[in-house]
């Protein structure tokens, strides 16, 4: 006969200082929960997450032979891992643990102490009922393929490629264009130190082309990526249609961005007036070595307009981040080239953040530049063709914010500092490698502060301006950060993958393939022979979508089984009944 394991549950109610104890009678909760069946001990303590709190759990597990633990404290997003580790330290499987959130869901959102205490009891009781049915789960490990795929050979892709290849690991670098270098190759001087971008880039490209560990595919693209962290596969196709099959363990996406086309901003007259240039076009003019109007004259009045397509509800709401510094760089370059020209810098807000950037602004301000401020909410600067008696080619009219005057600025050449936006094929790449995008089609990082280069797909990293507009400095920093992340996983040799995944009971599966359609991670495939769905446990994130969609109940989500969830609901309801009676 199958002997049921005796359940010995320990319950810990955290005060969280006064965060919880102010609104919840923690002693009453612990006392009442202590009376529930299988609960061996129920304690309350000031800070369960502190070392003494964790030690308390470890000691009790050993002394009272606990085999299940419930902590009622804050959100599991904050401390679930902390307590799981405590269980592991005491020799217990970390999944024999459940957390009840009585801070975010109770003490922080309620004002009636009695009601709050009642709700806390119900939530803890639910956790106790659930934890009875927890099963021990083991972490899985997979081998890592030491090769890396890098998509995009701009400054980010090149930096990451060299970093990884220098440690003797294979890199496949795939570039859509004919030559590596990306936008950096089109830049004359880089801000804020006015160093030639080509001087920065050229030695890197030279090294890249001769590197034994880098395989460069130019004029090529990646169709679809298969596999999972450590074991990806893909086909690289070049413009001649030649396909090369490659396999690799990690992916770094460095596809960059593209400049905004200002033709849609009617007021600026781009495309209609000959001497209105985008920053990209002007940069090319600087590289060519001569600042001249379309008809070959030297401009007397040069105006730079900021925020074209940025920070505006009709175009892009975000700040493109590099344009202000680009504008200051132009001011300096134009002043050096044309000492007598009148330079107008028409900005919405000057954002010269970071090292040496405010210094560049201060220094630029001494070079006889007229800085004029406009308020985007009160309309954008309007560019019109000037009459011959105005002695200039164009007129820019707008309300100047600092003087509160409506003014006219004469101009012979106008440079629009255009926004930086996601590439038109960003969605394709996102789909191929499995990264998510935000509303602006930039790729989303795993955590905006704490994990800025990883994505929610293990083994896929995003660097440079495909993640958001960035300057060279930040792009290179991200590239090297991602490279070190990749090298760390390669050095580890194996990688741990999530075990709270879905599993298919092949005897029950009817082969309807509904689960395959709903899976957001492409983790389920169909076994044609057996006519059943198969979950790739490494790709599966355990989101539970398939389990709840499956019409026959063939899919079980580990750690979120029907039994566990229903018993949690039962626990919640029972406690409600008990206290009401």
């Amino acid at each position: 006969m199958f002997k049921m394991e005796e359940k010995r549950i320990g319950v810990y109610v955290c005060w969280c200082g006064t965060n919880i104890s102010r609104m919840v009678d923690v002693e009453a909760v612990a006392e009442e929960i202590g009376r529930l069946p299988d609960v061996v001990i129920a304690k309350n303590y000031k800070y369960m997450c502190y070392d003494p709190g964790q030690d308390l759990i470890v000691r009790d597990i050993r002394e009272h032979k606990l085999n299940r633990v419930v902590v009622s404290a804050c959100s599991p997003r904050i401390h679930e891992l902390t307590f799981r580790k405590a269980l592991a330290n005491a020799g217990l499987n970390p999944y024999m643990f459940e957390m009840a959130n009585i801070r975010e869901q109770v003490s922080w959102v309620h004002t009636d102490r009695e009601e709050a205490t009642r709700k806390a009891k119900a939530l803890v009781a639910a956790a106790v009922t659930r934890v009875r049915f927890h099963e021990a789960l083991d972490k899985r490990k997979v081998e890592i393929n030491p090769a890396t795929l890098i998509i995009g050979a701009g400054i980010s892709g090149i930096s990451a490629a060299l970093e990884i290849a220098d440690s003797g690991r294979k890199v496949f670098l795939v570039e859509k264009m004919k030559y590596p270098g990306g936008h950096t190759a089109d830049i004359d001087l880089s801000f804020p130190y006015m160093v030639s971008a080509r001087q920065l880039l050229e030695p890197k490209i030279r090294r890249l082309l001769n590197h034994p560990y880098i395989e460069l595919f130019t004029e090529s693209r990646i169709a679809e990526v298969y596999g999972y962290v450590g074991n990806f596969e893909a086909e690289v196709e070049n413009n001649l249609g030649i396909k090369t099959k490659i396999s690799f363990g990690n992916i770094i996406v460095a596809t960059g961005l593209k400049p905004f086309n200002p033709s849609s901003v009617n007021l600026h007259g781009y495309g209609k007036l000959p001497d209105v240039y985008t920053s990209v076009e002007f940069e090319k003019m600087l590289v060519s070595g001569e600042i001249k109007t379309r008809d070959g004259r030297m401009p007397k009045n040069i105006a730079i307009i900021h925020c074209v397509g940025s920070r505006h509800n009709d175009y892009h709401e975000y700040c493109s981040r590099i344009c202000c510094m680009l504008g200051l760089k132009y001011c300096n370059q134009i002043r050096s080239a044309l000492p007598d020209a009148n330079i107008y810098d028409i900005y919405a807000d000057m954002r010269s953040f970071g090292k040496s950037c405010e210094e560049l602004y201060t220094q630029t301000a001494t070079r006889n530049i007229m800085f004029l401020n406009f308020d985007q909410r009160q309309g954008l600067p309007q560019i019109t063709k000037a009459c011959p008696d105005e002695h200039c080619e164009m007129l820019i009219e707008f309300k100047e914010r600092l003087s509160n005057e409506s003014i006219i600025v004469p101009a012979d050449m106008i440079i629009l500092l255009v926004a930086m936006e996601a590439r038109e094929d960003a969605r394709e790449v996102a789909h191929a490698v499995g990264v998510s995008m935000c509303g602006n089609d930039f790729y989303i990082e795993k955590h905006p502060k704490l994990d800025p280069v990883a994505t929610t797909t293990d083994g896929v990293y995003i660097v440079g301006s495909c993640q958001g507009p960035k300057d060279i400095t930040d792009s290179v920093a991200q590239a090297r950060a991602a490279a070190s992340r990749v090298l760390a996983t390669i050095a580890a040799g194996t990688v741990e993958v999530e075990v709270t995944t879905a599993v298919v009971n092949e005897d029950v599966c009817c082969g309807c393939q509904t689960c395959i359609k709903v899976c957001p991670y492409k983790a389920i495939s169909f076994n044609q022979e057996k006519k059943v769905s198969v979950v790739n446990e490494i790709l599966c994130k355990g989101c539970g979508t398939c389990g709840s969609t499956c019409p026959t109940g063939a899919i079980k989500s580990r750690h979120f089984t029907d039994l566990q969830i229903l018993s949690q609901i039962t626990g919640l309801m029972e406690m409600e009944l008990v206290t009401e009676l």
């Binding site: 330079i343 301000a365 006889n368 007229m370 800085f371 100047e400 600092l402 005057e405 006219i408 004469p410």
Partner: protein, 382 residues
């Protein structure tokens, strides 16, 4: 109506004062710390903006510089070392040249050489006139007095004085009228009712006599006193020599307590002490307002000092019955005074004696008129 910006303007302004004020990034600290600025007349930041953008018409109607007394707190507070206080001083010089329709003022301000040349020509003319027409050999009178009135008859000098007064008054008054047109007439945003001129004029007169606004600048009491002493001395001297020369310039030496002599001592002390105080300050740059000196400041102070010095010499030689020395001193006295009056009264620094009270007068007019307009706007329509 949009106005066109002018980036060359900053360069034009450089001749009138320190620099181009590129450093300013409009934090507004200067206007915040200023003890004199008030709603409707927010300075100095707005002035800096108008200069940076080259809004000449706006500046021409800008009355705010005349309300500033250069205590220098703005400059001390400025995080960018943009010298907003010196900016107001520069604008006062610039505005003096704007009001002057002859264009002479601009020339004197823009060029030290031009100013010096005009002074030297006038100086030499006066000396020449004396050498040609005056008789330096007139002996002591029967009473044993130095015969200044035989050497330079007060009737003749007085006539010349009046001629000079008439000419300079014409220029100064037309310049003041020009200021009125620029500040009040051309400003379409506010219409000043006629009766207000009679109400507000008393405030301007009171200020002219006491310079009470000056004392609002904290920590500047000594400066205020020195300025008032110098100003009153000059005004008294001016009134004496223009209107009461016959009483003021006598051959008879009155006893020391006589009002004529007491006034003379007051004026001399005011000129000597005042000009010395300001010269030492400007030399040592020990206050914010002394840090930058335009050539017009120096010429003005040196002439004031020389004027008082030659006055003292005349007095000493007269008391000691030395006719020749007294006559020569008198000649130099006038040779200093004429160029000074001609160049400064209507065309340079001295004209601020007229523009300051006028500026305050206009500012108060605008303020009162605006308040009235505002009350009318608020009043319920019947």
């Amino acid at each position: 109506m949009s106005v066109r910006v002018d980036s060359a303007f900053k360069e034009q302004l450089k001749a009138f004062g320190k620099g181009d004020w590129n450093e300013c990034f409009h934090c507004g600290n200067c206007s915040a710390i200023c003890p004199l600025t008030e709603n409707g007349f927010l300075f100095p930041r707005k002035g800096i903006r108008a200069i940076q953008m080259g809004l000449k018409d706006k500046l021409a109607s800008y009355v705010d510089p005349w309300l500033c007394y250069y205590c220098g707190e703005c400059t001390e507070t400025c995080p960018r070392d943009a010298n907003p206080g010196e900016l107001m001083m520069t604008l006062r010089r610039y505005l003096t040249s704007v009001y002057d329709w002859t264009g002479l003022s601009g020339r004197l301000y823009r060029s030290f050489t031009a100013h010096l040349a005009v002074m030297i020509i006038l100086f030499i003319s006066v000396i020449t006139a004396f050498l040609v027409f005056a008789d330096f050999t007139i002996p002591l009178s029967d009473q044993g007095m130095v015969s200044i009135n035989s050497f330079a008859p007060h009737g003749l000098i007085s006539t010349l004085d009046h001629f000079l007064l008439g000419t300079l008054s014409f220029f100064l008054l037309t310049n003041m009228l020009n200021m009125f047109v620029q500040v009040i007439i051309k400003d379409k945003s506010v219409r000043v009712p006629f009766y207000m001129y009679f109400i507000e004029v008393w405030g301007a007169i009171f200020h002219f006599l006491t310079q009470a606004r000056f004392s609002k600048c904290e920590k500047k009491r000594l400066y205020w006193f020195s300025h008032l002493f110098l100003m009153s001395s000059y005004v008294i001297m001016f009134v004496m020599i223009i209107f009461f020369l016959a009483w003021f310039q006598t051959d008879e030496v009155h006893p020391w307590w006589h009002p004529q002599r007491l006034l003379g001592y007051y004026v001399t002390a005011g000129l000597i002490l005042g000009s010395t105080y300001f010269m030492i300050g400007r030399y040592r740059k020990n206050r914010e307002m002394f840090r930058f000196s335009h050539h017009s400041d120096w010429i003005f102070l040196i002439l004031l000092f020389l004027l008082a010095l030659t006055g003292i010499l005349i007095h000493i030689f007269r008391i000691n019955h030395l006719p020749m020395a007294a006559y020569i001193s008198y000649m130099f006295h006038l040779a200093v005074e004429v160029p000074m009056v001609v160049t400064f009264v209507a065309f340079s620094k001295w004209s601020h004696l007229a523009y300051r009270p006028l500026g305050l007068f206009f500012a108060n007019l605008k303020k009162a008129a605006r308040e009235k307009q505002y009350r009318i706007q608020l009043a319920p329509t019947t």
